[in-house]
């Protein structure tokens, strides 16, 4: 069963990124569960896979407008698809780093992969509920999705 500490670790990893890299903290929205069907996938998704004591995926998914504003806040002038992919990849990387630090050596965490669009590429483990945690930043809302067996 998913524990509170595990969820907090992933959330913390995400909010840390906003606080440090995006120069403006994000707030955590009201979390909920997706029981059946696919959890939300927006235009850009940074994903890490987890194995070991727990198995599954964790991803951060955000919309193009949100990433555009983030890039601008970060002083990036080239608002290209590539930079947006890099950005969600970096968020996923921060989540992964946080998880590595907190979960210790019992876990294996993959390098982040980035999916632009194509929600069918994001495969959650069967018969596992996903936790969706909205990450609100300015007027935008991204999602952190945790789906672990």
């Amino acid at each position: 069963m998913m524990t509170k500490v595990e969820l907090e670790t992933f959330v913390e990893g995400t909010t840390n990124y906003f606080a440090t890299a995006a120069n403006q903290p994000a707030s955590v929205g009201s979390p909920y569960i997706v029981q059946e069907g696919r959890p939300t996938v927006q235009e850009f998704t940074g994903l890490i896979s987890i194995a070991g004591k727990r198995r599954g995926i964790v991803y951060f998914t955000a919309s193009r407008p949100m990433l555009t504003v983030m890039l601008m806040r970060m002083g990036e002038t080239e608002l290209t698809q590539e930079n947006m992919c890099d950005l969600v990849g970096e968020v996923a990387n921060t989540i992964s780093g946080n998880a590595r630090r907190d979960f210790g050596k019992d876990f294996m965490i993959s390098v982040p992969t980035v999916v632009a669009g194509e929600p069918e590429k994001i495969v959650t483990p069967d018969n596992t509920r996903s936790f969706v945690i909205p990450i609100n930043w300015r007027s935008h809302s991204a999602q952190l999705v945790v789906c672990l067996e």
């Binding site: 069963m1 998913m2 524990t3 509170k4 969820l7 907090e8 959330v11 707030s27 955590v28 929205g29 009201s30 979390p31 909920y32 569960i33 029981q35 994903l47 896979s49 987890i50 194995a51 070991g52 198995r55 995926i57 210790g104 050596k105 019992d106 876990f107 294996m108 993959s110 992969t113 590429k121 994001i122 495969v123 509920r129 936790f131 945690i133 909205p134 609100n136 809302s141």
Partner: protein, 766 residues
């Protein structure tokens, strides 16, 4: 291995030894023949010199003659003659013994001189030389002066030498007076010269012939030498050829053996299902390994790979460290291998391969290590790897199913006491409630007020689930819902709220969903069981079991266990007498009463008449009110006796239709009634009203306080009461249906909740 125990090298050692012996023998033969050849050459040279010696003697004799004629001194000339004669004589003596002298004066035997022909020639020569020596003798014996005493002093000596022209002995210059001895000398010289002239050619010829014979012999030796050399060369070549043949044959044989062995090894390594490889001291993988390794590790290239790098990407760091420590342990010389094997941490190691489609593929590998010794010391570790994923998964599934079966058995024992219809109803309602909770959570929220607004809504849903679970005696569900409520209480008490604070709620919600799914699964199995038994019954047999299940499904679960045999005909109607909600309420009342050491008798009427669309609400309301009545209203038996009441409290639930307008639900008890002072006190304590407001409240207003959220007179929070959500839930449910709540109470005598609900059609219209 002994020095003569040459093993597989025996052949080659013998062949090389043979070759060397033959080579030495040929060398020795060659050397011997070459020696003979040298002797012959020396012999030829000696004989060539000898051929000129008679001429030299003759020349010396002539010199003496000339000197005599010239009246010169002859001593030195005689000496020269003696010397040459002696040398020639020695040569003859040597030749007679088959010996010659070389340049250095050493004597050398010449075999060619020993044959009969040579001997005969030598004998002829000796004979001539003997006569020659007789002629020489008077001359060589001469000493002193050959001249008469009055003779003048000798003039300067004429040139001497063997090439000097010989003058006739008879002629002498006038004035030279020879003494008588001188004259005899002269005569002897004349005789000698005559003989020498006659015999010189013969002697020279003998020397020449002998030299020719020796030369012939030398040629023979040279031919022999060549023969030996050629023979030796051929023999050496033959031996070499034999050696090559031997080697080639052996090499070919060995090559065939090793190639067959290599092929067999390759076949084994290609076919074997285990991953096999060797690890050296630096923990590097050996070059030979089984093909299965490619499949197991999903890679082709293992060149220069270390054990560490083989595992690094597929196991967590902790496992990797353990593995490396263990392998290092195996390299220790003084290690009990069997003992160490028992602590193999890689016995069943979980590995994760990157899946190209994203994520990991998890497998389980079994590593076995065997220490390979060579010449008594540890040289390698043989590592055997097996993919035991299926085995592990099966055993885990088995273990999980055993654990699950145990948990389900516990659950089964609990739900066997619950009426199936009630349980199905509960599961449906609870699922709706939890989904509602999730919907509330899903509502976007950024501001604190939005978060806070969620709490009450969630509370009501969870409380309803908890209430019903408690009513059904589903302790495990009740406990989970209670824990959920506690989290909610905690949130409510916080000064600020954010989404992070709600994380524990989703975790608990997930847990509740999971648990209810288990209960549902269990129920499903029981129903399946019923169908299975029913099917058997139609084909005869299994009557008792079928009846038991029927009993349980009909709600007569308590009797099910005691049922020994099937009575003649069980009236179906009787089984249906105690219907869902009534049964639930009875159980709830009994259970809550028991946990509060109270006695209660519940009487329900009209609950079967509840319209379908109200069933859920009526259930939730009656559960809350019945529980409240038992917890707060009914007194303990002692208190009741003191108050001159029966020990058993009475609790009535009545549902009736009130004309076409609607329905009335009455829940009343004969307990202590509402304690208005206590209500005011608690309301002030909980901050719902101020003391001043409390003083102004009339009884009706005071009673209304119990419907306020968060109101409870219970001293502590239990699963039955204390959080003050129950009456709030009742109020909200009634309000949602467009109904009204009425409350009447008399201290120490009774409490009565009267709820009016509009008819469903009106409620929809409203």
């Amino acid at each position: 291995m002994g020095i003569l125990d040459l093993g597989r090298y025996k052949g080659i050692v013998w062949a090389i030894t043979g070759f060397l012996v033959a080579f030495i023998a040929i060398l020795a033969l060659n050397h011997g023949i070459a020696g003979l050849f040298a002797d012959d050459v020396a012999g030829v040279k000696f004989l060539s010199q000898m051929r000129t010696q008679p001429a030299e003697i003759q020349a010396n004799a002539r010199t003496i003659t000339e000197r005599l004629q010239a009246g010169e001194k002859v001593d030195d000339a005689i000496e020269a003659l003696r010397s040459s004669a002696t040398a020639y004589d020695h040569a003859f003596i040597g030749l007679a013994g088959g010996m010659v002298s070389d340049n250095s004066g050493a004597t050398i035997g010449v075999s060619a001189l020993n044959d009969a022909e040579a001997k005969a020639m030598l004998a002829d020569g000796e004979k001539v030389w003997k006569e020659y020596k007789a002629k020489l003798d008077p001359i060589l014996r001469f000493s002193g002066s050959p001249y008469a005493a009055e003779a003048p002093a000798p003039a300067a000596p004429a040139p001497t030498g063997k090439n000097a022209a010989a003058a006739p002995a008879a002629e002498k210059p006038a004035g030279v007076q020879l003494s008588p001895r001188g004259r005899r000398l002269q005569t002897a010289l004349v005789e000698l010269n005559t003989f020498a002239a006659a015999s010189q050619a013969q002697l020279s010829q003998i020397s020449t012939k002998l030299a020719g014979q020796v030369e012939e012999s030398s040629k023979g030796n040279a031919a022999l030498l060549r023969g030996v050399q050629i023979g030796g060369l051929l023999a050496a070549l033959a031996l070499l050829g034999a050696l090559f043949f031997y080697f080639a044959r052996n090499l070919r044989k060995e090559e065939m053996v090793s190639s067959r062995a290599r092929k067999e090894t390759a076949d084994i390594l290609r076919t074997v299902n285990e991953g096999l490889f060797l690890l050296d001291k630096d923990l590097k993988l050996g070059s030979e390994r089984s093909m299965a390794l490619n499949t197991i590790f999903r890679k082709e290239d293992f060149m220069n790979l270390t054990f560490d790098s083989l595992l690094k990407d597929i196991v967590p760091e902790k496992t990797l460290k353990t593995a490396m420590d263990y392998v290092a342990l195996l390299w220790g010389e003084r290690v009990n291998e069997k003992l160490v094997k028992t602590i193999n941490p890689l016995n069943e190691v979980e590995v994760h391969f990157d899946n190209p489609a994203g994520g990991f593929d998890t497998h389980y590998l079994e590593f076995d290590f065997n220490r390979v010794k060579s010449d008594g010391s540890l040289s390698h570790l043989l590592v055997t790897v097996n993919d035991v994923t299926k085995r592990v998964m099966l055993s885990r599934e088995l273990q999980e199913s055993q654990e699950k079966a145990q948990a389900q058995l516990d659950l089964l024992l609990r739900i066997l006491h619950v009426e199936p219809d009630s349980l199905t109803g509960f599961l449906t309602d609870a699922d709706v409630s939890l989904k509602m909770v999730n919907s509330i959570l899903k509502e976007p929220a950024r501001e604190e007020t939005a978060f806070r607004a969620k709490i009450d809504g969630i509370y009501r849903q969870v409380h309803a689930v908890k209430g019903e679970a408690a009513a059904l005696g589903l302790k495990t569900v009740e406990q989970r819902a209670h824990a959920f409520e506690e989290s909610l209480s905690d949130l409510k008490g916080r000064p600020t709220l954010s989404g992070s604070d709600f994380l524990p709620l989703v975790v608990k919600l997930d847990d509740l969903f999971n648990h209810l799914a288990q209960v549902r699964e269990m129920l499903g199995r029981l129903v399946d069981l019923h169908h299975a038994i029913a099917a058997r019954r139609t084909s005869g047999g299994g009557q008792v079991e079928a009846a038991k299940v029927d009993q349980w499904l009909a709600g007569k679960h308590d009797q099910t266990m005691q049922m020994k045999a099937l009575p003649t005909q069980q009236p179906q109607q009787e089984a249906e007498a105690a219907v869902g909600l009534e049964r639930t309420l009875e159980d709830l009342a009994a259970r809550v009463a028991s946990s509060h050491s109270k006695q209660v008798s519940l009487k329900c009427t009209g609950l079967t008449e509840v319209p379908e669309s109200y069933k859920r609400a009526v259930k939730d309301i009656t559960i809350q009110l019945v529980r409240n009545a038992v917890v707060h209203g009914i007194e303990t038996p002692d208190q009741r006796v003191k108050a001159q009441k029966s020990e058993t409290g009475f609790l009535g639930v009545e549902f009736t239709q009130r004309g076409e307008e609607g329905f009335e639900l009455v829940v009343q008890d004969d307990g202590r009634g509402l304690q208005l002072d206590r209500i005011k006190e608690v309301a002030v304590e909980r901050g719902l009203i101020t003391p001043a407001q409390a003083a102004l409240l009339d009884p009706r207003q005071t009673m209304a306080l119990i419907f306020r959220p968060g109101f409870s007179t219970a001293d502590r929070v239990t699963t039955d009461a204390g959080r003050g959500a129950g009456m709030d839930l009742v109020r909200i449910l009634v309000a949602e249906l467009g109904g009204r709540v009425g409350l009447a109470s008399a201290g120490g005598r009774f409490s009565k909740f009267k709820i009016w609900l509009p008819s469903p059609s009106r409620a929809v219209a409203a």
